[in-house]
């Protein structure tokens, strides 16, 4: 094949991909932990409200908590068992949040109870959006924004393109890659639902060039009567950020502070689409998800379908870790969050975790003054001026950062920090600055 340039957005970086270890490992079922930890808020929005009592027996897939309003989703039982306690449980950020502990029955089956099926042929868009909410689906790419809330196009806006995001540009992670290979038909079914719900005319599945096999399989299996296209994009970080994909594919820029609706696009992660296609026909709720467990610190690296609520400690013990485990972060190494405790559970928004040993861990090097190399400027996908912002952050001129240099548009991708040869922790500065500004504006 002739060398051809793939579409992409301007700027960005090329960190090592590190996907070889898991890209070939088929999705395997993860066993049930003896006790599941289930936060009531695994999504952005209001926490769900429990509908079960302590001591109650529940079946896998049964409703545990109902959605509280439109920006909220219900929670389903990841396994059959007994609700031990309804109490505060540890969350990703180290805080305690409302939740419950579910003691699984030993030898619980993988059977999932079904609800009212939602057939794509016979439903209205409203009913689909409702069914998506009932299934408890959130953005599985890591955003954890309730999927149904995104699907309801605001009054006066129109959408022409449904963007199915299978870019997965974070190093190490291969869940979307495996989902595209193994749940190809689920994805197409999910797209049918999504097209109907949003009124979009066509769907584009975006895949990075390092997943050619997935792109080919999707192309081969695309049903004839479905207006869907598969587009291969250049391998670059952060190509998977929604605004970047939209820019690369359609050359449209989402106005600052707005939703992609503004440019007639709606973006859905490919794993979310697959889950919609898998659950809706059976009226099931989401009780497990696919994650990548990888990194030099773990032994059985791979892709797993893991029950939501599985404590990280159980997951790590099951895959096996070496004595030199030093850091675990949820998500990829660019934006992933280091975990403070292993008691936290896998929730809906977590697409994988990476374990580093002492050897891989980034030891903060001496921070040197900015040498004006412009690497950060050439890296920033939002086209900010991180060098200038960094300087202002150092002088705590936060307001100026926001007013004159669009700090609030920074989505903390970390590309600038990654490239800075002076090792200035730019994105950390920006996080602090953004928090300060938000606090000040709220006050």
């Amino acid at each position: 094949m002739l060398w051809r340039r793939h579409k992409t957005f301007p700027r960005g970086i090329h960190p090592p991909e590190c996907k070889d270890e898991t890209r070939g490992s088929p999705i395997r079922q993860f066993p049930f932990a003896p006790v599941m930890v289930i936060p009531m808020q695994q999504h952005i929005g209001k926490p769900a409200i429990p509908v079960v009592a302590e001591g109650q027996e529940v079946a896998r897939g049964q409703l545990l908590a109902r959605a509280d309003g439109f920006i909220s989703v219900p929670v389903h039982a990841p396994a059959s068992g007994v609700v031990k306690r309804i109490a505060l449980v540890p969350n990703i950020d180290g805080h305690m949040v409302p939740g419950m502990y579910l003691q699984c029955f030993p030898g619980a089956t993988q059977e999932v109870i079904e609800g009212t099926p939602c057939r794509v042929e016979t439903t209205t868009p409203e009913q689909i959006i409702d069914a998506v909410q009932q299934a408890g689906i959130v953005g599985l790419g890591g955003a954890a924004f309730p999927a149904h809330a995104k699907l309801r196009i605001p009054e006066g806006k129109t959408v022409d393109t449904l963007l199915i995001n299978g870019v997965e540009c974070e190093p190490y992670l291969t869940t979307d890659h495996r989902v595209m290979l193994e749940q190809t038909d689920d994805i197409f079914l999910g797209i049918r639902y999504l097209l109907k719900a949003t009124g979009a005319e066509r769907a584009i599945i975006a895949v990075e060039a390092n997943k050619q096999d997935a792109a080919e399989k999707l192309r081969r299996q695309a049903p004839n009567n479905l207006p869907v296209m598969v587009e291969v994009l250049a391998v670059k970080y952060p190509q998977g950020a929604e605004k970047m994909v939209i820019q690369a594919l359609l050359n449209r820029e989402v106005p600052s502070g707005h939703h992609p609706y503004e440019v007639h696009v709606i973006g859905v992660n490919v794993a979310t689409a697959a889950e919609i296609g898998r659950l809706l026909p059976h009226g099931r709720g989401i009780q497990e998800r696919v994650i990548t467990i990888t990194g030099p610190g773990v032994k059985k690296k791979g892709n797993y379908r893991i029950p939501i609520g599985t404590p990280l400690r159980f997951a790590l013990e099951w895959v096996g870790v070496g004595d030199d485990l030093a850091e675990v972060f949820l998500g990829g190494p660019m934006m992933g969050q280091a975990v403070p405790s292993l008691d936290i559970p896998i929730t809906k928004g977590i697409n994988g975790f990476v374990a580093f040993t002492e050897a891989q861990i980034y030891r903060a090097e001496k921070v040197l003054p900015c040498i004006h190399c412009g690497y950060c400027v050439a890296a920033c996908p939002v086209r900010l001026n991180p060098a200038r912002l960094g300087l202002l952050a150092k002088r705590e001129r936060y307001e100026e950062m926001a007013r004159s240099f669009d700090l609030m548009d920074c989505f903390e991708c970390g590309a600038c920090s990654y490239v800075c040869p002076s090792r200035i922790p730019l994105v950390q500065h920006f996080r602090v600055a953004k928090q300060r500004i938000k606090k000040r504006r709220a006050a």
Binding site: G322, Y362, G374, V382, R383, E400, D406, P421, S422, Q428
Partner: protein, 341 residues
């Protein structure tokens, strides 16, 4: 399975960093300069070797001592001062008295860099500050050249090299002039091949266009020099010399001569591209390059001196912050540039 119990490190993302640190960039600049520097020793002999060594050692020692004197940790191991020393040496005439080399080197580091706060703080390229100082203080020594490929160049040092401080140096042999001076004052052209290969008189490390280009390409390929800067310079030089030569071929030299003579290659590829003193954005770098090329040509064509690259780059350094103010990137989704209040 006890490992799962251990305390974990918590750092904020990103959890990985690019392998290219400041030290790596600086080290690679030295690598890129070395072929031309070594070649200058072949062409000018011991004089070049002694001069370059002295320049590097002076600059490194000055930085080290200044750091010690002001109670800071020594910063010599980031390699940046070694580059300053090497480039500074390469811009000097090969037979320049060593005491001048030392004096200029001290000025370069103390005035050009340390006074501005050290690494990253300097407004001007420190090597050029040192050179500009010498040019102003010792104009005749700075325009006295030693012959190329002289037979005894590996046996004896030119007498001027070892001149006593503050005494008028004595020159053994002098070449007429550099190709630029020869053309400017006598309308005498030099073979482009000689210019390209570096077989002409001139400053120690500026003559070998071919090797400088090779080094420059290496840096550009490794993204350690912004290609838009030399591209802008070459474009401006080629355009202006093309026009003037086209109009008056007798008075003005042709583009190849202008591109390969004097300090243009060294300046465009290694000094103008100095990250600290050049603009941040791609567009800014191109404008900066055009500006430097235009100023250099203005001096060469109509100025009193045959060469103007050094002053052109210093001029570029001075306007670089203004370019950065004006040419901010256009933020995604806003259609407007960031701007200073």
């Amino acid at each position: 399975m006890n490992a799962v119990e251990k305390t974990l490190t918590i750092r904020s993302s990103p959890h990985i960093r690019s392998p290219i640190g400041v030290e790596a960039i600086m080290r690679n600049v030295v690598y890129a300069l070395l072929p031309a520097a070594v070649f200058s020793v072949y062409v000018f002999g011991l004089a070049a070797l002694v001069l370059l060594t002295t320049a590097v050692l002076t600059c490194v020692a000055t930085e080290h001592l200044l750091c010690r004197a002001t109670g800071r940790a020594s910063t010599v191991n980031d390699w940046s001062v070694a580059i300053t020393g090497l480039i500074y040496g390469m811009t000097l005439p090969p037979g320049l008295p060593l005491w001048m080399v030392i004096l200029g080197g001290m000025v370069a580091v103390a005035l050009g860099k340390f006074l501005f706060g050290g690494l990253g703080g300097n407004l001007f390229n420190p090597a050029l500050v040192g050179r500009a100082f010498l040019q102003a203080a010792f104009p005749s020594a700075m325009t006295s050249w030693v012959p190329v490929l002289s037979a005894d160049r590996f046996q004896i040092l030119p007498r001027s090299t070892l001149a006593y401080p503050f005494a008028e140096p004595v020159y053994d042999t002098m070449t007429g002039a550099t190709p630029l001076a020869a053309f400017k004052f006598e309308r005498q052209t030099t073979e482009t091949v000689d210019l390209f290969l570096g077989l002409t008189g001139g400053s120690t490390g500026e003559t070998a266009s071919l090797l400088l280009l090779a080094g420059g390409f290496y840096l550009i390929a490794r993204k350690m020099a912004n290609w838009r800067i030399p591209a802008g310079i070459f474009a401006a030089v080629a355009a202006l010399s093309g026009i003037t030569h086209g109009l008056e071929p007798e008075t003005y030299a042709a583009p190849p001569f202008m591109l390969f003579s004097g300090g243009l290659m060294l300046g465009a590829l290694f000094m103008a591209t100095d990250m600290v003193a050049s603009p941040l954005t791609g567009a800014g770098c191109f404008i900066y390059g055009l500006l430097i090329g235009a100023v250099a040509m203005t001096i060469r064509l109509w100025g009193a001196m045959p060469e103007g690259v050094m002053y052109a780059i210093l001029f570029g350094n001075a306007v670089s912050p203004l370019i950065d103010r004006a040419i901010q990137p256009i933020t995604y989704g806003t259609g407007k540039r960031g701007r200073e209040p």
